[in-house]
Symmetry: C2
Subunit: 335 residues, 2 copies
């Protein structure tokens, strides 16, 4: 049996077994956006890592080296934000092909430093090695969260409303324009391509959500709405119903999806990389939390409802029909 | 200019500039075996990362997948040991070629878990991605050290005695036997190959050294004695004189080096990967520290003396001559 027959979930299961040798220090290990560690002095610490590989996660004919550095740290910061935390310290490993120009490596670091500066992340160490193949960037990132206030994927209950920050499908539109010759107004083009190349993690939004009573489950949208809702379903033992007509999509992105010959629902569900925050909210807490988000100027939309586990993950289409989303599998949503 | 003209030190300099945005939390950033972070509750935390790339750091015809996992964590644990700390929590990223068998990935994890169990390291997260090229394993590791007791590379002063734990050149002998058809008794063969494939980090030794007054500088021997002494020279603004005749080398390793047509001094100086601890000791503290090490059953040898910076890094050969070791460059010691 080879890896293509197992997929990442099989590997996570392999990893999960007997990996904790001193349980006292671990509040939550593998299975959420970041691990939660118990530090001395009743403080909680978050710990996450993400690896980006040339040819798999990025292409150097689409991404500048600056973008590669920026995004490598952005996606890790987003994992910390998805727990309600604030990023603090990171270490950076880079495997660099021998033919790479020093100027390009400097640009990659400049991208790293740019977003590190925005979020006051200290880059405190690293490893620089030679690669006989692709450029590989790995970042491991620590974060802080008030003890007891980390928000897990496992807190959703039937009856919760499902929300997302910002818009969905934007990064997928950017990837489409980079890979195809789509026609698009320049301003929208810049916006969606930037969403793909330089995602902006929702750190202050995550911290606010973590501080508000009633925010029950939290996740960042890295792998598409379908994949992230599946994570919440699994971790919380619930189902989710998404309302297609409620999904927040930029008008131009809807047009680009038609141009691309795919439905925008496919981009929202399976495109991923929007790095918006997805959260569920207890029904009796909708009003105060919505008010707090409005007051903070955070864009958000209610996009569905948590349902009992046997109902599974489904979407109510604009025509009123309900469609089950497979717990595995993609491209079910082409219009 | 490309990377081959710069080397890792040039890159570390690139990284070093303006990477710390919240200095309050960082006791020591880039430039030692691990970063030292200030946590709430007056506790110090260590943070390090190391990346291993197939074809650069290991070959799958020499290393079993188990060994790859074992060594990837071992070298990170050694970085924590080299600060006088105890490893606590790690995250593991793996880029896996698509043709890899699941059984092989399971073996890699088994190696990881084996050494994690020995040192009570919790593996709390990770990222598993596809590689279009080599197998890449990155680990980021946290450690704990008593506040104020981390031992840096920068503490050496002229007059300190230089010590190493264990034997040197052993891993280089293992690499020689793996890459050439050397003749060697089976017991020695197993021992030196094991030293190369599955190094044993000196954690309890590092913790003891960190607790003893007079231990002034500490480093792990990952890149060879010459490279590690250079690090101590740079960080402490000193020189070092090594006594060739004092260097602890297994008798069989000396013979293998002759057989290989190189001097054993070359293996000791430039072979690396012994993961022994290298430390310097104030002259008036030699007796109590040596007694404490004897009592703990830790093998150690005095191998030289710290000298003023202008004297540079040199070795006193067995014939009494003194040879300068270049601050860059290798293979100066072929006999």
């Amino acid at each position: 049996m080879n890896l293509s027959q197992v997929g990442e979930f099989g590997l996570i299961n392999l990893l999960n077994k007997k990996m904790i040798h001193s349980p006292a220090g671990v509040i939550a290990g593998i299975g959420d956006d970041a691990a939660v560690l118990q530090c001395p002095g009743d403080c909680w610490q978050l710990f996450t890592t993400d690896m980006m590989v040339e040819g798999i996660h990025f292409r150097l004919d689409w991404s500048a080296y600056f973008d590669v550095g920026y995004k490598a740290l952005a996606v890790n910061i987003s994992d910390i934000a998805a727990m309600g935390g604030r990023p603090s310290h990171g270490v950076v490993s880079i495997a660099i092909p021998g033919h790479t120009r020093v100027e390009d490596v400097a640009e990659l670091y400049r991208g790293l430093k740019e977003i590190a500066g925005k979020h006051k992340v200290n880059l405190v160490g690293g490893d620089t090695v030679k690669s006989p193949g692709p450029l590989v960037v790995n970042i491991a990132l620590l974060g802080e969260v008030t003890a007891g206030r980390a928000v897990f994927r496992s807190g959703a209950r039937p009856g919760d409303t499902i929300y997302t920050t910002g818009n969905l499908g934007t990064a997928a539109a950017g990837l489409y324009l980079l890979s195809q010759n789509g026609v698009c107004p320049p301003e929208l083009r810049d916006r969606v391509i930037r969403a793909h190349l330089r995602p902006e993690p929702r750190v202050s939004e995550g911290i606010l959500l973590g501080s508000l009573e009633g925010v029950a489950a939290l996740d960042d949208n890295s792998d598409g709405l379908a994949a992230e809702l599946r994570e919440i379903c699994r971790a919380s033992s619930v189902g989710c119903l998404v309302w297609e007509k409620a999904l927040p999509v930029l008008p131009g992105v809807r047009q680009l999806a038609s141009q691309a010959g795919t439905g925008v629902l496919d981009w929202v569900m399976n495109g991923g990389e929007d790095y918006e925050l997805l959260f569920t909210l207890r029904p009796d807490r909708r009003k105060p939390v919505e008010e707090a988000l409005h007051e903070a100027g955070i864009p958000f939309t209610a996009i569905g409802v948590v349902v009992p586990e046997p109902e599974g993950l489904s979407v109510e289409r604009c025509d009123g029909t309900r469609e089950i989303i497979a717990m595995q599998g993609y491209n079910h949503f082409a219009e």
